[in-house]
Symmetry: C2
Subunit: 82 residues, 2 copies
Amino acid sequence: MKYKATVTIKLKKGVLNPEGRTIKRALEFLGYEVEDVNTYKMIDLILNGESEEEVYKKVEEMCQKLLANPVIHDYRIKVERL
Amino acid sequence: MKYKATVTIKLKKGVLNPEGRTIKRALEFLGYEVEDVNTYKMIDLILNGESEEEVYKKVEEMCQKLLANPVIHDYRIKVERL
């Protein structure tokens, strides 16, 4: 069966977001007052699996091995059947 | 009033996603069969405004001027009051 797993990868609280700060400064330069800017990444994976649980476990392994850096990132996984 | 605007920035259909392809290859190298990988960016903006419509219009301007490249990106904006 085919599934779509959506992984949300955010910097942990307290970890500086240089991209966010750069965007904030650029927006202010363009005349926009913004209190805070946070950027984060989403990854959509299309893959086959036996069940949602099996796919979730596989994607979690992918996060731990490759997709997210456990030191600075928090990640969330959502799995839906296609 | 304070609002949070969430901007989703995706590559347009047909535009190659090199990051996605690199991740796909790396996952295959680790032994994971994945049919497709797509990456995209999310930006959370905290800003003040008079109304949701006003904030939406301001963030749309920010997208056109800075946050998204109209040639290769599609973007979506969601505004919620804090």
